[in-house]
Structures are given as structure tokens and as C-alpha cells.
């Protein structure tokens, strides 16, 4: 960057300013030190180092500890590959997190093309070199620390650690550079990574289910007793190992959480991170969003003669607070959809006030349709998705008993695969059911708190849509249950007709009193419904976390802790209730049909209580939330 100006000139200017106004110079130096020594940079670096440590500990542990790898080689290699992939994604994202060299300040200057080109090259090389060196350094230090920790300080250990870490960091760097070259692929690679990791976990679960018979009704203690048999958990727990993986993971997780809270709090106190990308500033985002809605609305009005005739000319005065259509066409606007990219400062408070007044007036306005109302409130889900969800659920209802029956006749390996496929099918249909959750745009994009709207309007609307869609989802679940029962009965009928020995999974006895009974299926689906509602609540969490700028560090920590406690309490309560209902159902086998509506009611009630508690926490955390 320095070649854009002469250092001698800069020095001369500094000297002149220092001579001319020494007090200002001193205060400038002081302020610069404050900017430079901002410890948020340190927190950021620490955050990155710890997260790197978390991943690296998983990668390096089998190589650097004396303990023989407890996993079979194939799985260990797969997990290591996955971890390298994950670490590579981390490194690659770190590399690509660089802001590209900003040339916009040179556009409006008579800078010759060669100078611009040199500036660009210099910036790119400098950034890339720094990041690459940093990445290698992190990996090297982490591996050394792990090596020293596990074996003590010896020359041989140092050499071994270096030898172990070099290919690792090298491969990670190579992968990072590869990702950097194919930026478009990053989200896809990340998805593949998470899906692969999810599949490994599912494999574990299916493996357990095929090897151990799941008791009925399920007992938490017995299921928990089976878990240590999982090689993955064994690997993580490393019982008797000198390397405390689980403790390290726990401490790292706690440290990461603490740093996250601290750094977020610092950000909320208007310390900006130097390398933090300019997000859609809350003010800008909201206002440009509103501006866009207004433009659409106005265009619709002016293009429709009938509407124009109905238009009340008294509203023209109120319109003056907003930009005209002609204004919106031009780039240098006070508010413009691309404003966050072009401008970096918030809009005039007076303008905000005028906008607030106008929005309230519009939302109270009944005679004239304004799409803003629809946009601010819930956006309807895509129309075909519920139909698709119903179709998949019906297929799942048909395939699940069939898979269960086939799995019981197959060797363990194929049975495992089949069980895994069934679980994936259930998950897929549940995700499809989950997808048409109402998506209020400002709620989703965290802009809504900046809109001068009463949060109650949002909340009421949100819950109204949720209830409506929940009922529709219940209909889908009932349909799935019916198909499942009919398929099971058909299989049993076929078994009787063909005089097959009753060794399969689907039997008449199980249909009435076992795994296929109404109670069991209702229970499983009830748990699924609870999970859906829980996930919905988590979406609400995300909104709260994103949308609310917490006041003060301790208030932030206490509020977040309170919210997490509420969530944990909800989860525990739901689990307890599930067990209670199972026990109750076991005792009253004649009233199985009652349990499905009971599950629905319980799931709905729990969800409402959960969200209500969250809202209260949020209100407590930010007292001016409701304006």
C-alpha cells in the first residue's frame, strides 16, 4: 500500500501537524494506541486458536499418544480424513475470509492502471502470505504442544511431532488453498462434511440397534447402558488414556462459549472487529428493506389506474418523507437496497422517525393494500411443500414396517444398513414436515427489531401461523400412522396367508402389545413432534440471539444463561413427560387411542410455554425491546 504514497511526504506531513498542534498530535497517538491494542483482536485470535486446537486435538491424538487407536483402522482413517476435511474447511475459510483488496478508493483518482495493478498484487500477496504462515504456525504449535503434553520434552518427541504435523498442516493448507481456488464449492463441501459426519453417527446408532435389542418400553438407563459400546464414544472418552480428550473438549467448549460471549458483548459496545465483514448494518438493512417494499408498493399503485383513482391525495404529504421513484433509480441515495455496500453510515435519525410514523400509519391503514404489511408479517410457505411432505410421509408409513420386517430376516450388516435407511427416511420426512414453518422475513433476517413495530404484532402473527401449520402437520402424521398400521396389518395378513413362520419383526402380538402397538408408535411420533416443536423454538432462539443487542456483558451472560436454562428445563420436562406417558400408556392399554391427541396437546402446550419463557427472558435482557 505504501507505494501509493511517498513515505517521505507522509513523514513531512506528520511533522508539520505535530509542530502545529502538539496537543492534538498527542491525543491522536493515544487514540491510535487504543485502536491498535484493542484486545478484541487478541480475543479473535484466541478464538481461532482454540477452535483450531479443538479440531487438531481430534486429528493428532491417535498419532501422538502412546495409546493404540481403539478404533478399527478403516473407521479411524475415515474419521481422520473427515477431521482433516473439517480442519481444511476451517483453514480454507480462514484464508478466504480475507476481504479482497479494496480498489474503490482508487476509482475516483487519476491513478495509472499500472499503479492500481501493483497495489492489487501487493495486497493479495501480503494477505495470502500472512494467512498461510499463520495457518502453518498454528498447526505446528498445536502439534508440538500435544506432543510435549503426551510424551514430555525429548528430542525424539520433538522430531516425531514435527514429522507428524508437517504432512497434516501441509495437507490442510493444500486443502485450504484448493477451497480458496474453488470458492463456490465451500458451502457444498461443508455440507458434505456435515452429512458425512451425520452418517457416521447414524451408522453407530444403527449398529447399536442391530446388535442390542431395544427394550420396550424404552428405559433410559438401559439405553444409556448400551452407549459405552459405541466405538465412537469409546474413542472420545478414552478411558484410562493418559490423554484427557473429553476433559479437553469440555474445557475448550466452555472457553469458546466464554470468548463468544465476551467478544459479542464487546461488539455490542460498539467495538468493531477489524476483520469483521461489514454486515448489513441493522439500520441500513431494515431501512433499505422497507424502502424496497415501498418502491414495489408505489410502483404497483402508480401502474394501476384503478388503485390510483382510489388513492387518497392527503397521503401525498406523508409520502414526502420517502424517496421518489426517480430517486430510487439512482445510486447515491439516502436509502437504497444496495446501500450497505455503498455506504457505511446509518441514516439520519429524523428520517428514521419519519419512517416509523409512516409505517405505523400504513399498518393502521385499512383501505389501501400495502404489500409492506405482508412482507413485514409472515411470508407464506411455498405452496407445494406440504403436498410433498404428505407424499413422503405416506411412503415412509408404508416403507417403515416393510423395512423392519425385512431387516429381521437379514444378516446383521444388511440389517444395519436397512435400519439406517429407515432412520434416514424418518428424518427426511420430519425435515419435510419442518420446512413449511412460517418464515416471517424480518424475523428470519433479524432486521425486525429495528423496524419501529410492536414486537407483539410479530409474536402474535408468528404463533398464529405456527398453530395453523402445526395442525396441518398433525394431519400428515395421522395419515402416516394410518398407512403404517395398514401396511403392518397387510404384512401380518400375508404371513398368515403364506403360512410363513412368525419370526419377523411385524407380528400380530407386536401390533397389539409391542413395538407396533398404537401406544409405541404414538409415543415415537409424539417424541418426533416434540422434537419438531423444540427445533421451532430453537429457530426462535436464533432470532433472539441475532436480533437483540444485549445490554452489558453480565446482563448478556445472565440472560443467555437463563435462556439456555429454560431450554434445558424444557428438554428435561419433555423427557420426563414422555416417560410418564409411556408408563401411563403401559398401565392403560385399552386407551391407546387417547394418547395421540394427548401428545399433540402436550407438544403444543410445551412449545407455547417454552416460547413464552424465551420472550420473557428476551424482554428482561433488553428492556426497551417493545419500544
Amino acid at each position: 500500500m505504501k507505494h501509493l504514497w511517498d513515505n517521505a511526504t507522509a513523514r513531512r506531513l506528520k511533522k508539520a501537524v505535530r509542530k502545529r498542534s502538539p496537543d492534538d498530535w498527542k491525543s491522536s497517538r493515544k487514540r491510535r494506541r487504543a485502536v491498535r491494542s484493542r484486545w478484541t483482536r487478541f480475543a479473535n485470535a484466541l478464538w481461532l486458536a482454540l477452535s483450531t486446537l479443538l479440531v487438531a486435538s481430534m486429528i493428532c491424538q491417535p498419532y501422538l499418544t502412546d495409546k493404540p487407536a481403539p478404533l478399527p483402522p478403516a473407521i479411524a482413517a475415515g474419521l481422520t480424513a473427515l477431521n482433516i476435511l473439517g480442519f481444511g474447511i476451517l483453514g480454507g475459510m480462514w484464508l478466504r475470509n480475507l476481504t479482497p483488496p479494496d480498489l474503490s478508493p482508487l476509482v475516483n483518482t487519476p491513478a495509472p492502471g499500472r499503479m492500481v495493478y501493483l497495489h492489487l498484487l501487493h495486497q493479495m500477496r501480503r494477505q495470502a502470505a500472512l494467512r498461510a504462515l499463520g495457518l502453518v504456525g498454528y498447526g505446528f504449535v498445536i502439534c508440538l504442544v500435544l506432543g510435549l503434553h503426551s510424551r514430555g520434552l525429548e528430542r525424539e518427541v520433538l522430531l516425531n511431532a514435527s514429522v507428524a504435523c508437517l504432512p497434516l498442516t501441509g495437507s490442510v493448507l493444500a486443502f485450504g488453498v484448493l477451497i480458496e481456488m474453488f470458492r463456490w464449492a465451500v458451502p457444498k463441501v461443508a455440507k458434505v462434511f456435515y452429512i458425512a459426519f451425520g452418517l457416521v453417527l447414524l451408522w453407530e446408532l444403527a449398529h447399536l440397534m442391530s446388535r442390542h435389542r431395544i427394550p420396550f418400553p424404552p428405559s433410559v438407563a438401559e439405553v444409556a447402558g448400551m452407549l459405552p459400546h459405541s466405538p465412537l464414544l469409546e474413542w472420545l472418552a478414552t478411558d484410562g488414556s493418559p490423554f484427557p480428550t473429553s476433559a479437553l473438549l469440555a474445557c475448550t467448549g466452555a472457553a469458546l462459549l466464554a470468548i463468544l460471549l465476551v467478544t459479542q458483548s464487546l461488539r455490542d459496545r460498539q467495538f468493531s472487529f477489524p476483520d469483521e465483514p461489514e454486515d448489513e448494518s441493522f439500520h441500513w438493512g431494515a431501512e433499505s428493506y422497507v424502502a424496497e417494499s415501498f418502491r414495489e408498493w408505489k410502483q404497483a399503485v402508480w401502474n394501476d389506474p384503478a388503485r390510483y383513482a382510489e388513492y387518497d391525495p392527503e397521503d401525498v404529504d406523508a409520502e414526502e418523507a420517502f424517496p421518489s421513484d426517480a430517486e430510487d433509480q439512482d445510486a447515491p441515495l439516502l436509502i437504497h437496497p444496495s446501500a450497505p455496500e455503498n455506504h457505511a453510515t446509518p441514516v439520519d435519525p429524523e428520517f428514521r422517525g419519519a419512517m416509523a410514523k409512516r409505517i405505523r400509519a400504513l399498518l393502521d391503514h385499512t383501505g389501501f393494500e400495502c404489500p409492506l404489511q405482508e412482507c413485514i408479517l409472515t411470508k407464506p410457505y411455498p405452496p407445494g411443500i406440504m403436498r410433498q411432505s404428505l407424499r413422503v410421509s405416506l411412503w415412509a408409513g408404508f416403507l417403515l414396517p416393510v423395512c423392519a420386517e425385512i431387516a429381521s430376516w437379514l444378516p446383521p450388516l444388511y440389517a444395519t444398513v436397512l435400519i439406517m435407511a429407515s432412520i434416514l427416511l424418518i428424518l427426511f420426512s420430519l425435515f419435510l414436515m419442518l420446512s413449511p414453518i412460517p418464515r416471517p422475513l424480518p424475523l428470519q433476517s433479524s432486521r425486525w427489531v429495528c423496524l419501529p413495530m410492536d414486537a407483539k404484532v410479530h409474536a402474535d402473527n408468528f404463533f398464529r401461523w405456527q398453530r395453523f401449520l402445526f395442525l396441518r402437520r398433525c394431519g400428515v402424521v395421522v395419515a402416516m400412522l394410518t398407512v403404517m398400521a395398514l401396511t403392518a396389518l397387510a404384512i401380518i395378513g400375508l404371513q398368515h396367508l403364506l403360512a410363513l413362520p412368525g419370526q419377523g419383526f411385524v407380528t400380530l402380538d407386536r401390533f397389539f402389545h409391542g413395538h407396533l402397538s398404537g401406544l409405541a408408535i404414538c409415543g415415537v411420533l409424539g417424541i418426533c413432534l416434540l422434537a419438531i416443536r423444540y427445533l421451532e423454538a430453537l429457530r426462535f432462539y436464533r432470532i433472539l440471539f441475532e436480533a437483540i443487542r444485549w445490554r452489558g456483558l453480565w446482563k448478556a451472560i445472565s440472560t443467555v444463561s437463563a435462556i439456555l436454562s429454560v431450554s434445558c428445563g424444557f428438554a428435561l420436562f419433555a423427557a420426563g413427560l414422555t416417560l410418564f406417558l409411556f408408563t401411563l400408556g403401559e398401565a392403560n392399554t385399552d386407551f391407546h387411542w387417547l394418547f395421540f391427541p394427548v401428545w399433540l396437546l402436550v407438544a403444543e402446550a410445551l412449545h407455547q410455554i417454552h416460547c413464552w419463557a424465551l420472550l420473557q427472558m428476551a424482554r428482561w435482557g433488553r428492556s426497551d425491546w417493545l419500544g
Partner: protein, 238 residues
């Protein structure tokens, strides 16, 4: 220096922003561009700064056609955007040093001038602080200091009175602009929405309405019929 704007026309998709705008501005003039939002003021300034190319017509500086490729001509003008884009991680003095180098305006006494400007604009206490920490007004002041230090022959400013600068900054701008025009024969063209400011700080007022130059008058002419300007702006807006 003389500036000729010859029948320039500029279109954006679906809209004609400038329509055959012609004007002649000689050295020692301050021209205030007035007009409603979207009238074409900023587009005209961008064309003058070679940030946009007119679809037809041309702009000449002392008879030579002004184009983006003519670095020598572009060094004779500087455009201050309403939101100046500066090198974020540089400090204001580095930004000014960069402008001095790019405009080849590094004169022997320039440091005294810069120190004076920094002091008067009240940004001397920020001279060692990265620009990314600045407010909009401070950003604009930094860019204004660079403009005044470079002192090109043609000063172009977009909405300097609505730039977020404090009264001290605006007073400094007026003082520096007047000095540059009266003592050194520069041309200063700026856009504004404030009619009073435009009348009090200009030798000529140009009103652009729907892309056309509707009025190009001196202050005396305007004073003869003060309602003329109001009627033009208000009637066009309605």
C-alpha cells in the same frame, strides 16, 4: 481554465437522466447545481469527473476532450463524492499523501498547508488514526482536506452541505472554496438541495430538472425575480 459541457446526454435503463445539457463555465466561478431528487445533478458531476461516460456530447477542458484515459486532464480536477471512499486502514495523512502523489501536487510548502487544514477542520487529533474508525463527517473532512491540499483547477463536490460535516467543517469548506476561486481562479461546482446556501455561495446557479438544464443564471438575475427559482423547483416537484 475553461470548462465546456456540450450537449451531453446520459441514459440509464428506462430513464433519461441527462438530456442535452450544455454550459460554459470559466475560471473564477462557483456553480451551485440545484434540482429535485433524481434530477440528474450527481450524474452530471460524475460525468464531469469521468466516473460516467455521457452517451452523447462531450466535456472539454480548455478545448481538450475530457475522457477517463486522459490522466493528465483528470489530474486537473477532483470530485468529492457524498460518501467519500478512502483507504480504510490508512490514516488521514497517508490519504492526503496519496492524493498529493496521484495528483502530482507535492509542493514544497504543502505540509504547512495540510497542517493548517487539519487544524481548521478539527481533525488534527485524528491524524494518526485509521480512517475506518471515522464517522461520515470526519471522512468527508479528510477528503476535503485532501482536495484543498491538492487544489486542482476544477473542484467538484456532491452535496457538501449535507455531508455530515459540522458547522466548522462547512465554514472551512466555504472559506477554502471562496479563496480557491477568487484568489487562484479555480472553478467550483457543487450540488445541493439548499436553495439559500446555493444563492449565497455561488456566482451562478444551475437548476436541473428531469435531466435538462432549466436555468443557468447569475445571482443578480435571480435577485431580480426571487420567486422564479422557487416556482421552478416547487412546480417541477409537484
Amino acid at each position: 481554465m475553461d470548462l465546456w459541457i456540450n450537449c451531453i446526454t446520459k441514459r440509464f435503463p428506462g430513464i433519461k437522466v441527462l438530456e442535452e445539457v450544455s454550459a460554459e463555465i470559466s475560471a473564477g466561478n462557483i456553480v451551485a447545481l440545484l434540482g429535485s431528487n433524481g434530477a440528474g445533478k450527481t450524474t452530471l458531476l460524475r460525468c464531469l469527473a469521468t466516473l460516467s461516460n455521457p452517451d452523447s456530447g462531450d466535456i472539454r477542458l480548455d478545448g481538450e476532450v475530457l475522457k477517463r484515459g486522459r490522466i493528465d486532464l483528470r489530474r486537473r480536477l477532483m470530485f468529492l463524492l457524498d460518501f467519500p471512499t478512502l483507504l480504510n486502514h490508512a490514516d488521514p495523512l497517508a490519504v492526503i499523501a496519496m492524493h498529493l502523489k496521484l495528483w502530482q501536487a507535492d509542493r514544497p510548502d504543502v505540509e504547512q498547508r495540510v497542517a493548517d487544514l487539519m487544524d481548521r477542520l478539527q481533525i488534527a487529533s485524528l491524524c494518526d488514526v485509521p480512517v475506518y474508525t471515522f464517522s461520515r463527517g470526519q471522512n468527508y473532512k479528510t477528503a476535503l482536506a485532501a482536495l484543498a491540499a491538492v487544489d486542482p483547477e476544477l473542484w467538484l463536490l456532491d452535496e457538501p452541505f449535507a455531508s455530515g460535516m459540522d458547522p466548522q467543517g462547512i465554514a472551512t469548506f466555504r472559506h477554502e472554496g471562496e479563496q480557491a476561486v477568487k484568489e487562484r481562479g479555480r472553478i467550483l461546482i457543487y450540488s445541493t438541495q439548499m436553495v439559500e446556501q446555493a444563492c449565497s455561495f455561488s456566482t451562478r446557479v444551475a437548476v436541473i430538472s428531469r435531466g435538462k438544464l432549466a436555468l443557468y443564471d447569475t445571482e443578480k438575475d435571480l435577485n431580480r425575480d426571487p420567486r422564479k427559482l422557487d416556482e421552478m423547483l416547487i412546480s417541477r416537484r409537484a
